[in-house]
Symmetry: C2
Subunit: 210 residues, 2 copies
């Protein structure tokens, strides 16, 4: 009758309904701005069930936070990790994957960046002592490229800040950018698709100009 028809959260267990409601609200507004009653209403369940399944608001939040972190960071590791691609190819792949992820989860980066600022240590173990798998290999590749004459030197932090900044920032600043430029939502997301091709070119230009 009703297979996954599109958006409705049918055929979800109570526990899943709560979690999805919590994910939506927490990711949108952060821990402090969300009431447990908001979550219960959004999920369409009795308030007590939240505590029945998840013990406390904080424990529920922690689950969502961890999943959001993984979604934001682990994108990188999976496909970029193994292959023996060139630096340029990896960049192109990474940007492509990341922009798709951001298009589907536009609230994610602001949530993650806020959480990291509030609690820089809680994330520490998630990127196990500063080692997000894919990224560290990418940086190693950058450094070895630094040695060869191919591209001039660039500090890993500058490189990462540029790559993530160009990729992620437009999503974080979307309302501001739209307001200033007058671009509507459709056009905005089309331009984000354009950036899949543009950012790798720009990064290359940046690497070859200092």
């Amino acid at each position: 009758m009703n297979q996954p028809t599109g958006q409705e959260d049918k055929v979800l267990s109570t526990e899943e309904k709560i979690k999805e409601a919590a994910r939506k609200l927490f990711t949108q507004k952060g821990f402090a701005a969300v009431r447990t009653r908001d979550i219960a209403d959004e999920a369409g369940i009795n308030l007590a069930l939240l505590n029945y399944y998840f013990r406390s608001k904080q424990k529920l939040f922690d689950i969502i936070m961890l999943e959001n972190f993984r979604k934001f960071l682990h994108i990188v590791s999976g496909r970029v990790l193994d292959d023996s691609l060139t630096l340029e190819e990896k960049i192109a792949l990474l940007v492509d994957i990341e922009i798709d992820m951001l298009t589907q989860n536009p609230d994610l980066p602001l949530f993650v960046l806020n959480e990291i600022r509030v609690n820089p240590n809680k994330i520490a173990m998630e990127m196990h002592s500063g080692d997000v798998p894919g990224v560290s290999r990418l940086l190693a590749q950058l450094i070895s490229a630094n040695g060869s004459g191919e591209a001039p030197q660039m500090q890993p932090l500058h490189f990462l800040a540029n790559l993530i900044g160009l990729t992620v920032f437009p999503f974080v600043g979307r309302p501001m950018l739209q307001k200033i430029t007058g671009v509507d939502e459709d056009a905005f997301y089309k331009m984000m698709q354009e950036r899949k091709k543009l950012i790798p070119i720009w990064i290359k230009a940046i690497l070859n100009c200092s």
Copy 2:
């Protein structure tokens, strides 16, 4: 005896003490995560004085929000507005000013970006119907440069996203970037100073490569 010695908030009126405490906490943690008692404690005043001087938590927050917005956006307009500088010169000036501002107010961008997301309309009038003075002139200059053969075409949104992304993002993502790259705080802020010179070069390279 004690002139402005450096950091202490001496010789501040009660009203000013409350406002400074509120600015610090609200900018750091947002509206919902801050208690009026936190503000009173931080300011070292009686809780009732907050309402005596500012009526409500919301009204106090609105004042701080407006000032933070102006600080974040109006940087641009002042000095970049009048001069008859070239596009490149304006970019260099803008990046320089903005990085100094961000170094002194590292919490500002995340606060502003959060607020804009929560309430995109409240900001609308602050950048009066999409017209931040300095920026609109900058974009006009970009578009006219688009016409001349000097630099290839680039959409204003891409241009702005790149410029702001390269400039602002490192501050928003500082804890993450530090954790991944292992760069300590001193080195980080030194690199932000480097970016004053680097970003204009990079932007130029980006404009000349598509």
